[in-house]
Symmetry: C2
Subunit: 376 residues, 2 copies
């Protein structure tokens, strides 16, 4: 993996990540494909909407279909027939958020599957082994995502553990080989909750380990957005310029614009897909709930400025009907539109950075996003 | 609407139906789009799999989104963004199979909505009015689909009522105008249960009324397949050569081949879509249930001779995984494959008829379909 920083506009960055499975222009948004599929749309559609990389979840893939099957299939790319880059998380976050029982020790984390209650262990070494089998282009280290709020003491100890785990992940990564024809990269993950000093320390520690890129984790877990933005700033002041920075699990269009402004390069979030399946559609003018009665006779597109398949072919009235009668096509059309909008957002952020007018462009987007009442 | 009979091969027929929204080559299979969407796939995908016409259900559209909305949208084609031909049933069949209460009288049928229990009336005139608003290219008359088994007396009286309703539908059709720019055609429906003499009488009566085409209704409702085939033969001996014949709601690949052999031109059935969503996949070698454990490590396509998006890109193992973890993409991929297979079946039937070797081709297909145990 190679990252080329092409342009800086104040702190906002435009770059390209090169992988053996293709390049990713940044800022990039990664659609979430938890179980080896971006929910409700086919792989060709993910490609059509402009995604250059998807994220998949180690925890879910480990449980189903399992590593044996993934290995037999020749890795996740072949299994799911997605031939562009894939990033996988380490599974840690799902262990902490989904599994019934978990016990964190120095060695790793023991947890019960949310599916059948079976007991499993994730260690730093094991999550690398699993990600070797998955064959993701970018792997993430095992970390503990500290809950919000937590004490300074908890955050300090938790971050220290995450740093030791990061080093063990890196050691395992460096002493093992790729299983398939393409290379794999590994990102460390900055923790430290909402404490600037721990964030700085975390970023410094990982920087010294020299990862291929850096995740910014433990944010968007309940803290105010302003604090999240501050933590991003603090972190990015330490992280090296020549490596990509990935803000994990974030967020709303506004969050993404603010984070790009502070030097973040990569994002993933379930909002466009999950909220889409719950009838919430994102537009340049804010969100709308398509099941609302006011859209019953609305024969205009979801977003008349949008070029996606949904907006070029279908009306709000029709999509509302699909949700109303619980037709699967509603999920597909909403997902297509929302992901297309998110891709539009990061692609246009990139263009404005390259043109040197990101600040202005961002301001305009934020005004439009918040002007929903006047414009809808 | 204009039907051109291009070729006969013994009794099997190849033809073309011309409508203002495009032509339909026959034998034709119509994917079912009950609520203004072919379940689980987008309109462009319906077109891609080769469908030249879809069927939609008057009963469902009448209840949701309702005729007011459909009229405001400019008809169903515009509402759902499907620009090829649409055939609608009359709603009668759903009234008899779905609604809670129904009362059949000379005037029409009174029923309670299966959704909210509200009471509605369908008369021959009303179902034509509804189909005018839907704007289907081919409308069907209101009829009573007699239950199986039923007495000769019941079948006689029921068919007589259906014939009087057919005439009222035709009168209403002839005295009303299309609401949109394209023309509409109307088909009568032959009834008569499993009684040859009533079937003949029904076909004769409708033939004299001179419809644009003829549905063969009241079959595949529980009677043995051989009896269904006999009824088709009896009916097609009476129906005029120069009009299309549509066997309603049928059926399995074998049913379709046998009906084509007896001179049927058009089909619709929920089998490929509904069974697909329940993990049953149709292949040249018979059906398979993709959730079966034996497909867990099967990295071959559903049908290696198939050219559909599903078979060209995904393995049985992956599709099984999708069903196993309840991912929407499983529904889409199964639907694409099954509908593609059904289109393949009728398109190849057509080719073999044009080539004058339908009998031989059909025999080969039936052997293959029944050889599943040896070949899978």
């Amino acid at each position: 993996m190679k990252f080329v920083l092409e342009k800086k506009d104040v702190s906002a960055r435009a770059g390209i990540i090169h992988t053996d499975n293709g390049f990713i222009t940044t800022p990039a948004f990664m659609p979430v494909g938890t179980q080896g599929t971006v929910k409700a749309i086919a792989q060709r559609t993910v490609q059509e909407i402009g995604a250059e990389i998807i994220l998949s979840n180690t925890y879910h893939l480990y449980l189903r279909p399992g590593t044996d099957l993934l290995y037999q299939a020749g890795g996740l790319h072949k299994f799911m027939s997605w031939h562009k880059p894939i990033l996988t998380d380490s599974g840690g976050y799902q262990v902490f958020s989904l599994s019934d029982l978990r016990k964190i020790e120095e060695e790793g984390v023991r947890f019960k599957s949310h599916l059948d209650g079976s007991v499993h262990n994730f260690t730093p070494e094991k999550v690398i082994e699993i990600q070797r089998i998955i064959g993701s282009d970018i792997m993430m280290v095992l970390d503990e995502c500290a809950p919000y709020p937590c004490t300074l003491d908890y955050a300090t100890k938790s971050n220290s553990l995450s740093m030791r785990w990061a080093e063990r992940c890196l050691n395992n990564f460096n002493s093992t080989e790729k299983l398939y024809s393409h290379s794999q990269a590994i990102f460390g993950i900055v923790q430290g909750s909402v404490f600037p000093e721990i964030r700085k320390q975390s970023a410094l520690t990982l920087k010294e380990m020299n990862f291929d890129g850096y995740g910014i984790g433990g944010l968007a877990v309940g803290e105010p957005a302003e604090i999240m933005y501050d933590m991003i700033e603090v972190t990015n002041q330490i992280l090296p310029e020549n490596k990509p920075r990935y803000l994990m699990g974030v967020g709303t269009p506004e969050n993404i614009l603010e984070a790009i402004d502070r030097g973040v390069d990569m994002f993933d979030c379930v909002l466009p897909t999950r909220n889409g399946r719950n009838a919430q559609l994102f537009t340049r003018n804010g969100t709308l709930n398509i099941t609302n009665l006011k859209f019953k006779n609305d024969f205009t597109p979801v977003d008349s400025a949008c070029e996606c398949y949904t907006c070029k072919n279908f009306t709000r009235s029709y999509i509302r009907h699909l949700f109303n009668v619980k037709e699967v096509l509603g999920l597909e059309l909403a997902t297509i539109h929302n992901l297309y909008y998110y891709q539009w957002l990061v692609h246009n952020a990139r263009t404005s950075i390259m043109d040197g007018n990101f600040t202005e462009w961002k301001k305009k987007q934020l005004l439009q996003l918040n002007g929903i009442d006047e414009q809808m």
